[in-house]
């Protein structure tokens, strides 16, 4: 099939992805490199953030008082009526058909008007929650609709907001998820498997590899890179390590990341008698993260909920022995007994046992696992693959399956 025109994609995000948000940055750069034009729609945008080489359109700010909100709303209605009347007319009736009240239709028109200004081939919502109340925008502007799901918006948001995706799941949408497990979850909602593309995260394997000369730290060192969030299962991890410490194992555990559960975790370390064996390092740069990976023996990701997890890919690429939980996408990230070990979640004793078994393995076996992990990440989770997959996703040259 010949490409007749340049594909143009509108990517809806909360904000312009910062330097550490590698997933969206890599994706945007990859698409641009393949000749796809990207327009970003964000809620909040500051001029100096624009360094991605794409157009950025921000949503109107309705937080600046009643008068400003009224004036902005009136202006947007005028725009809707006289500049984009057809798109807005379509949108209004699509919303009405879904049973949305006239008042809410008008509200939605005002709120989503900033997306109507562009002619797009695809309108892609970066998170499931961003597509809520905008289920008809893509169709109204004549674009195809795509939605990416990450772990938390697929598994946690529906618990917080029951039925939040019920309208979305009735629409012709192409979905992108990170793992087969997530694909399964979506198909359980009645969505056709062919519409759910699994494109796992990818990492820069030239950056994350063992050729940077950092030496291992003395002693036995464990490492986790994670937000200090309950879903990362760090309290269970600490409990497992406390069991090992009680058996006389001497080690140090480094945790890289910040988050709202800091107090909980420091207290757990204190109460479990691990305060001298655990260091909370806070947020570090990718170079520093790489150095800690190079210096550690075992990488732990004993999450409660996890879409896929880039950090585990990075740790594998760095030759760490990785132990992960069986949360959602993790067993696809690490293959049990091949590229690391998978332990059922919420079972500190099982994690402790697994770590003990690993420590008792002969060096040749450990080396074998390390090599298989490095090779698998190097061949299967490269940025180039992700770029190619996304290009296929939008160009529809390939059928999912």
């Amino acid at each position: 099939m010949k490409r007749t025109k340049r594909i143009k994609i509108g990517l809806v995000l909360i904000a312009v992805p910062g330097y550490s948000e590698t997933f969206f940055r890599n994706k945007i750069h990859g698409l641009q490199a393949n000749g796809i034009e990207v327009v970003l729609f964000v809620n909040d945008f500051k001029r100096d953030e624009d360094n991605l080489g794409c157009k950025v359109i921000s949503a109107p700010d309705f937080s600046k008082g009643v008068l400003k909100t009224v004036i902005t709303s009136l202006w947007l209605i005028v725009k809707a009526l006289f500049i984009q009347p057809k798109k807005n007319y379509n949108y209004f009736w699509l919303e009405r058909k879904d049973g949305i009240s006239v008042k809410n239709c008008v509200k939605h028109i005002i709120r989503h008007q900033y997306v109507f200004s562009e002619s797009l081939d695809w309108l892609h919502f970066g998170f499931g929650m961003l597509a809520i109340d905008r289920e008809n925008v893509a169709k109204a502007i004549g674009a195809k609709m795509a939605v990416s799901f990450r772990g938390s918006d697929l598994y946690l948001s529906p618990l917080k907001h029951p039925g939040c995706y019920s309208r979305l799941f009735t629409k012709p949408v192409k979905y992108h998820v990170l793992s087969l497990s997530m694909q399964e979850t979506l198909t359980a909602y009645g969505i056709s498997k062919t519409m759910v593309w699994v494109i796992p995260p990818a990492i820069d394997v030239n950056f994350f590899n063992k050729t940077h000369g950092e030496d291992a730290l003395p002693g036995l060192n464990f490492l986790t890179v994670a937000r200090l969030h309950w879903k990362k299962g760090l309290e269970y991890t600490l409990e497992a390590l406390a069991l090992l410490k009680n058996k006389g194992l001497v080690f140090h555990y480094f945790i890289i990341g910040t988050g709202d559960q800091y107090e909980r975790l420091v207290f757990a370390a204190h109460q479990l008698g691990l305060k001298d064996s655990v260091t909370f390092l806070g947020k570090l740069t990718p170079k520093e993260v790489r150095a800690y990976m190079a210096q550690s023996d075992i990488y732990l990701q004993y999450s409660i909920q996890e879409g896929f997890c880039n950090a585990v890919l990075e740790a594998q690429a760095m030759g760490n022995l990785c132990v992960v939980s069986d949360a959602e996408g993790l067993p696809e990230n690490v293959l049990h007994n091949k590229t690391g070990w998978v332990v059922p979640k919420r079972q500190p004793q099982a994690l402790a046992d697994q770590i003990q078994d690993i420590l008792a393995l002969p060096d040749s076996k450990k080396e074998g696992i390390r090599n298989q992990a490095v090779n698998r990440v190097q061949t299967k989770f490269r940025l180039e693959h992700q770029e190619r997959d996304f290009y296929d996703f939008y160009s529809e040259l390939r059928v999912n399956g």
Partner: protein, 397 residues
């Protein structure tokens, strides 16, 4: 009556939490003169012996309050005001706000200034320079875990605790924690929480045939609910029919996810914060009140359940072991141990009605012996008396 000193019970807000209000009322009804300083959150109806020196938490409310006490101090106690200003300038992070709080205290000058929350202590060290005695309550989070993750707070405690005139500890365990920050043992009085038992006088209700557990408390990690849910999974695995209600944890996404993850949707209910009479009813109907906490002073809800003759299973944390004697008047299990919780629940479920009754009667007796409101008031007054009695003994520098 008039010999009783004037005491300020300071919690920052008026009214404060239930147990602080219980203390205020208990003291007032015993004839103690009580000051309540702070911002007025809601209307209060105190006995005459309580003087409320409050302000509305608005710019105008605070402005008028500050103006009134600034004028009084300038006109009648100018030297004191200057001394206080100097102190506040050196220590306060927000000077005007500090003045709004401090000026009325300097003007009324109660003999004892009793700070309820340790994190506030930094703002009140100055009262000692004006002859007031400083008493601090050692309660919950402020002592049990906040200073462990917050080095600055721990340093503040270490700097000031040795200078405080008297401490009220809600349990022996929390007194020990405070000693770790330099509180002098001789200045700590353990005064257990007192309940108004007459208000809790009620017959135990027969619940349904299903084994029902209930927990009550805000949705916070320190409450250890995720361990209780892991224990529920083990119960379910053992084929035991049960129902578990957590009051006050509705919409907690961590717990919601765990319930779904463990397939406990039919057994576990999360309820939002509920008025006390309804909570009371749910406790009375439950087979067991479960307290899976990681740390507590002494949980009031346990005392309430014991007085309502509902069996209690608690983790052995903080001061809980000072109330519950395992197998005698309730049940204790180690913290962070779902298996121990599940095993103990199975054990409780298998008890004969006679044994259950015996244990709940003993629990009731413990509360009446150890946690009467009058006891708390007397204990507190003895502490104030000690503090004032030690006047001039070089108690603090």
């Amino acid at each position: 009556m008039t010999s009783k000193p004037a005491v300020a019970i300071y919690s920052g807000d008026i009214p404060g939490t239930t147990f602080i209000e219980r203390l205020v009322l208990g003291l007032a009804l015993s004839g103690q003169r009580v000051y309540r300083f702070g911002f007025l959150k809601a209307p209060v109806a105190y006995p005459k012996t309580v003087k409320v020196v409050g302000y509305r938490n608005t710019k105008i409310g605070k402005g008028l309050h500050l103006l009134q006490y600034t004028l009084l101090l300038i006109l009648f106690r100018y030297k004191d005001k200057r001394q206080l200003d100097k102190f506040l300038k050196e220590t306060a992070t927000h000077l005007t706000r500090a003045k709004v709080k401090a000026y009325p205290v300097l003007w009324h000058r109660p003999e004892v200034f009793h700070v309820q929350w340790a994190k506030d202590l930094n703002n009140w060290m100055w009262v000692q320079s004006f002859g007031m005695k400083l008493v601090l309550s050692l309660r919950g989070a402020h002592i049990n875990y906040s200073p462990i993750a917050n080095d600055k707070l721990a340093a503040m405690y270490r700097a000031h605790f040795p200078k405080v005139d008297g401490f009220h500890a809600v349990s022996k365990a929390i007194a020990q924690e405070a000693e770790g920050y330099g509180a002098l043992k001789a200045r700590i009085a353990v005064v257990y929480s007192g309940l108004n038992l007459e208000a809790l006088e009620a017959e135990k209700l027969d619940g349904s045939s299903v084994f029902e557990m209930v927990s009550v408390g805000r949705s916070h990690w320190i409450k250890g609910y995720h361990y209780a849910l892991d224990a529920c999974k083990q119960l379910k695995h053992a084929g035991i029919p049960f129902k578990y209600t957590i009051i006050g944890a509705a919409h907690d996404i961590e717990l919601l996810y765990q319930i779904k993850d463990l397939g406990l949707e039919d057994e576990v209910v999360l309820l939002k914060h509920t008025p006390f009479d309804r909570v009371q009813l749910l406790i009375r109907k439950a087979s067991v009140l479960l307290l899976p906490s990681l740390k507590e002073g002494i949980a009031n809800v346990v005392l309430e359940a014991m007085s309502l003759r509902t069996l209690v299973l608690s983790t052995d944390c903080g001061g809980m072991g000072e109330v519950i004697n395992d197998g005698v008047n309730g049940f204790l299990v180690p913290i962070r141990n779902p298996k121990a919780i599940a095993d103990k629940l199975i054990e409780i479920r298998a008890l004969s009605n006679e044994s259950k009754k015996q244990i709940s009667n003993k629990a009731y007796n413990t509360v009446t012996e150890q946690h009467q409101l009058e006891q708390m008031v007397k204990g507190m007054q003895a502490l104030y008396g000690d503090v004032l009695h030690n006047n001039g003994k070089g108690h603090h520098g």
